[in-house]
Symmetry: C4
Subunit: 276 residues, 4 copies
């Protein structure tokens, strides 16, 4: 568990990269975390493919999804997905919005995403649908207006995964690592369910099995084991967030301060370097 | 955006490698760009797998698909795909011809490729079919004759993606990066549509949604974010075009001149080196 | 074939990593081996993603799945799968429990896993089902209680692969390498069977073909050839278990002793190192 | 084109690795070539996963599939596939036997493998089936007896690809590179055909299109372009056959002689080294 804001920034960069590396995110999508000390703020990267996010890219936002410190850097257009869910659900500490290939057929066909194995139980007993068209008519399908985010949060209700018609999914968690675990294993479950539907008749978990298996798998043991695995996979490929930033995150305030307060200028520099 | 012919050559080599790395191209297929200063010319590599294209492999062609400077190196057989589309569509600045695995089932079955999520909207409201057999009878299915290219361009019409029966697809763009973005996300859309059709009944975007989502996603922000991601993925694997060539592209005219004017001899040398 | 307990520990770490690398295991699942000198004990890693297992992570367990030496490190929750099968089947020397993507649709749909090519014959003439729900009602689907493990072992009977409804599969072998070979090729067989069912009507091997092809492929030659291949694939990616541990495994008793007797403290150190 | 026996040995090692790297071969399967100077001999590796084959592993065999020089090293069990096809088809210079995942569903279901795009035309107008069961009853499904190989060669007839029920496929070529090209693109074609059958009704190439497209794609240009691509992909991953052996293959007779004449002892040494 992260013990400081700097460590959370590092973990959040790691979470974005993990989800990308495990096939949940590509150039789009993003993972956020609620501020550990101030429930009225959340942390999210500037606009950047999640696989590239560094601790220094993480900004603070109000629950209205405005940056706490004004900035000129480009921000994600769909921040309200995060802000409106944090508003509606005080128990939620992390949110992942994605378009994972295995989930998309459910967004497109409207077939229900049911938990069909013990690890898939982390989806919960129901993954409700949200159709932007119902409330807002013909849009560009992006969730940009606060009202759109609020409508999505309402559809999520007390559940943990909401399937967005013709768009993707949004996943919530009581902790950052839980949110990553749920995002990855709901995707795996979708793969298995799709294949099972093509082969024959799936036999999903019932309500009690879902609750019991979900609780077991979200305990610290299994989550830590999976987290170590995903982190090592990134690390072995040299894709963990940059060590310098990490050292800063764990080091003295001074280095961290210099590194961690992103400015429009700093972010641009990073972007330029990234381009090479 | 590229600012010189040399930079465009580098970007075009990069575009070819990106499309290969993201699963759109394999040993075959190619991406071209219209000449930035002379609308009657276009740039395309000599015959080579796109993953291997270097800035020095890029030649200039007339819109009749003849090399501007006579050469003995082997050129792609299907250049007229590019030339005839540039002739017919003054608004098109880049073209990608490919046989991506996710698109092929549509070429083979004749099922319609419909946009089913916001990023898939870049396909446009319609991806028309072209069947070489209709106009030309039993051929080798390659698009080699100017008349074949012109027939394909006619089928494309004012659209952005044309599905070639028993062959592949050709994608156009108002800019090189737009063309790459459309090529990659139309492939992703095809994957999701196929799975959705197997699961149940797809619910595609309607015309207004397609236009609005297409416009949003092709704005500079999203395109730049995806481009940075795809370039970094190549770079992290050491697969970006060679730095020497890039330095030349950005450096003085002298080095660039020496490096950039490919000759039959130079190209052969590269090929030989590539073999080792 | 391993010639000492230390070598077996190395081979077992290797077996876990191989199965992970070949797509049979992810963050979860595990491979065990019966103790070569004491049939009443077996060897299994502490709780850790199988791709990360090192020789020093391997502990000894009684057939009641208690660690021979008391320990504070976290152990797998589902150890009884291994212990109860070793109890019920004296001919079994290795066990792999997994949730491979290609097998899961069979667990979910209840369709029968039939051998459909010569290498798939290693499944045996029948892969029985086990449904925890039948004997134990609504559980968390994990196999944690000795009675659950015993019920699973009973369902396995004299066969080699048991399909666990809404959970995964468990595979047994007369030797560690046989168990790995069977685990990997039963997964390949499942992939082919699924696709064949979508295309048309599969023609499975009959009983005699299954027995003859299974016997041929489990002979030392084919198994050694595949083992060399899987080991080299790991080694080329730098993912074989750490050399230091291997040297110890082959070196003098002293070094091995220091390295190989894992203690709670040692294991924690490894874990901490693994995190970096 | 290889110009000496040593160069052919290198090319053959490369061909085996290419087919493995492009997903046609795994631990099993093999590519052979007819001896360039003596049509009554062929070249094939000792028993080893094709991804690991080195020039020094290549042995010479008579068309009765006996090693020209007696040896104690383990040889492939299914050599007669190669020998009997070289006997029956004087025009064939290379053979690939494989169990590629995309082909297996056709072996299992008996659905016909039809060319559905220009590159798939290299399959030829027909890929006949061979069912070992018809001629030989219940076997272990391996092709080990000369009569079995001859029966397979008869089923191949004048075609280029034969689908072996419940087993795999065997592909022939008039040259080594043609054989590799056909092996890889018949696999791609199978992938597209399978998906197209799931989506709707495939529209295959007709006879004339198949002949014309096959001829175009097997000309030196396209084959060289694909070969360069596959070789570079291997090379960039450090998976081309070892350079030392290659130097020997191109260098003086002395070094080549020392390296290239594999003996039981030498081969064992290699094997042992490979294990580490």
């Amino acid at each position: 568990m992260p013990q400081s804001l700097d460590e959370l920034r590092y973990e959040l960069a790691l979470a974005n990269r993990m989800c990308a590396h495990e096939g949940v995110l590509d150039a789009f999508g993003h993972v956020s975390a609620r501020h550990p000390d101030d429930p009225n703020r959340y942390l999210l990267s500037r606009s950047r493919a999640p696989e590239l996010v560094e601790p220094g890219d993480i900004f603070e936002f109000t629950l209205d999804s405005e940056p706490v410190t004004p900035t000129n850097v480009r921000l994600y257009g769909e921040r309200v997905i995060h802000g409106e869910i944090y508003k509606a659900r005080p128990d939620v500490m992390a949110v992942c919005h994605h378009h994972a290939p295995a989930i998309m057929p459910y967004c497109v066909s409207g077939e229900e995403l049911l938990p069909v194995y013990h690890l898939g139980a982390v989806i919960g007993v129901k993954a409700p649908f949200w159709d932007q068209r119902h409330d807002f008519g013909d849009t560009n399908l992006l969730v940009i207006e606060p009202a759109e985010g609020a409508s999505l949060a309402k559809a999520l209700g007390s559940h943990w995964v909401v399937i967005m018609r013709r768009h993707g999914a949004t996943v919530a968690g009581r902790a950052l690592r839980e949110c990553v675990f749920r995002s990855i294993y709901s995707v795996r479950n979708a793969e298995f369910l799709t294949q099972a539907k093509l082969l024959g008749t799936p036999s999903p978990l019932n309500r009690v099995e879902t609750e019991r298996a979900g609780e077991y798998n979200l305990a610290p043991g299994p989550v830590a084991r999976a987290w170590e695995y995903w982190e090592m996979r990134l690390t072995k490929k040299g894709e963990a967030p940059p060590r310098a930033a990490r050292a800063a995150a764990r080091g003295g305030k001074k280095a961290a301060g210099a590194k961690m307060k992103p400015t429009a200028r700093g972010a641009k520099k990073t972007a330029r370097k990234g381009r090479r």
